[in-house]
């Protein structure tokens, strides 16, 4: 089964260890149909996009290096950086960014949301439920991909999905939804209630994790096989294709 990997990074420390050609080979060998990739700084995923536009869907992180993960939301220089990149390149979304609680209402995140709104871009938020609520209050029409489903319990994830029609979840770096190829009952209920709202992802937060993409795809196929085929297909790749088809058509 093809896989749409909705959570990959290709950051500055990966470019040398896993050069673009090798990175693309890894993605193809893993059987990925498409990959949503961001990098810190942005140059990395642009290199991948140039090498394989049929495979790579770029999104823009508000980080010039990963060290800005905990400071970017108070750093006003992030905004001109985003503006410059958005003017120069095409993106499907802004993210993945780390943002929690009331920090979501700080001026820098607010301006970032406004930039996404102007360009009708996805927000890829590594956030708690509180920050997700705040982002929706800023932009009720926002489309948010909730990284790691917020590391929330399936019951809370379902509650959020019921409340927000424009919220989707990636399942990156989570193993609690499946064990030994079997889907946990509480998660099964979530997947069956919202088959159109989940995506899988590896999260290559270190260069070494590029060598885990293939294994992660295989692991995903195992537990997806425990779901009804149509649901599995949606989560595996169709949801990604549907959500980001706008970017692909442009």
């Amino acid at each position: 089964m093809p896989i749409f990997d909705a959570h990959l990074h290709y950051s500055h420390d990966a470019w040398e260890a896993v050069p673009p050609q090798q990175a693309i080979e890894i993605l193809r060998k893993a059987g990925l149909k498409r990959a949503l990739i961001s990098s810190s700084g942005d140059e990395g995923q642009q290199r991948l996009y140039a090498a394989a536009p049929d495979l790579v869907i770029p999104e823009l992180r508000p980080y010039r290096s990963r060290g800005e993960l905990g400071t970017w939301f108070r750093d006003e220089s992030v905004i001109p950086y985003l503006e410059e990149r958005l003017a120069k390149y095409r993106y499907a979304g802004i993210g993945e960014f780390h943002l929690f609680g009331a920090d979501a209402d700080l001026p820098v995140p607010r301006r970032m949301v406004a930039l996404a709104r102007e360009r009708k871009l996805f927000l890829h938020a590594h956030s708690d439920a509180d920050a997700v609520e705040r982002l929706f209050r800023q932009w009720p029409g926002a489309r948010i991909l909730w990284a790691h489903a917020g590391f929330e319990r399936p019951e809370k994830v379902r509650e959020m999905l019921r409340k927000h029609a424009n919220l989707w979840c990636d399942l990156a770096f989570r193993t609690d939804h499946a064990r030994g190829g079997k889907v946990e009952p509480a998660w099964r209920a979530a997947f069956l209630e919202f088959p159109d709202r989940f995506l899988v992802g590896t999260d290559s937060f270190t260069p070494e994790r590029w060598h885990y993409i293939g294994e992660h795809a295989s692991w995903s196929r195992q537990w997806l096989a425990d779901l009804p085929p149509q649901v599995a297909e949606r989560i595996a790749w169709k949801n990604g294709e549907t959500l980001f088809s706008g970017m692909l058509a442009r």
Partner: protein, 391 residues
Amino acid sequence: MSRFVLGLLGVVFSLNAATQVPQFSPAEERAILRHGPWPAPWSPDPSNRASGSAQAIELGERLFFEPRLSPSGKVLCATCHVPFRGWQDSRARAAGLAEVERNTPSVLNVRYGRWFGWDGAGDSLWAQSIRPILEPREMGGSVAQAAALVRSDAELACRFAKAFGALPAADEALLAAIGKALAAFQETLVTGRTPFDEFRDALARGDAAAMKSYPPAAWRGLRIFVGRGNCSACHFGPAFSNGEFHDTGVPFFVAGGGVDPGRLGGIRKLLASEFNLLGRYSDDGQKKSSLKTRHVAAEHRNFGEFKVPALRNVALTAPYMHNGSLATLADVVRHYSELSADRLHADGEVLLLRPLRLGAGEAADLVAFLESLTERESALPERKPGAPCVK
């Protein structure tokens, strides 16, 4: 707080330092006491019927120094676990018949382990002892070859019979017993008492006079270790290891491309092994020791995790980390001082690990503490050639 009061506190602290009577908070004291007493209590391994058996220990010692376990006749357990090098090899990466990707850990105090090997692919010491015999790049042996050696060598066969009874018909069962004898021997390898132990016990009994003999740099380092360094969260207990696995931001690419998957690969190997505690070679009729194996499951976070090493005699076992990439204890302290939190997942190890940002004096103190974990003298008995086995 006024500068005057701060100054006064500084004077009191200095006086304490000058008289070498360290003061610890109740929380620090509790944390320090958890690193002893030493030697820590130990009970034989229920999965190994030879654990603690004098006959098995004698057989295991012979096998540990037996080059014929490798078809090459050139590699023995002690090639990498060298007694006079702290039972490791002082190399960055181990080399038997060829070099491998990982550093050789010392086998001193290995009996206190929960999982074995950097990746925990062994759930018992006896299973772990079989692994290098069969590994092509280490001893390069085989089940049949190891079994044939014991069957054909009168001395080994005699000692085997004393330790285990009749030789089993199946080679695999014989190899399992070889592993158990090797484990029984290694269980006897325990480090002696250290300056830290003297200090810890003095603290436990409130003996200020005895506490004074512990160097000030060492107790200042100890304070960092159990305090803001949070080192004792993982380097826990009398052996200074929680026995589990963590990603501490050490790169895990390997030479020639690819990566060392660490614990993730270890779990796969463990569950595939016929020698794991769920298999027929465990002697634990109650199966209590296999509980951990029954419940272990691979998670994404396991990729690139390696076992927390025990720290007794750590100053004698350079170089450090799973791949021997850090040459000195000062390098290790610098690694944790300057740790890049970016290498750790935002919802993973970063919750436990923070760059310590130590000053030069603090880093030296932490090294002084680690050096105080070196035994004053070996606790091992002098080894003498055994008399020939008599049936």
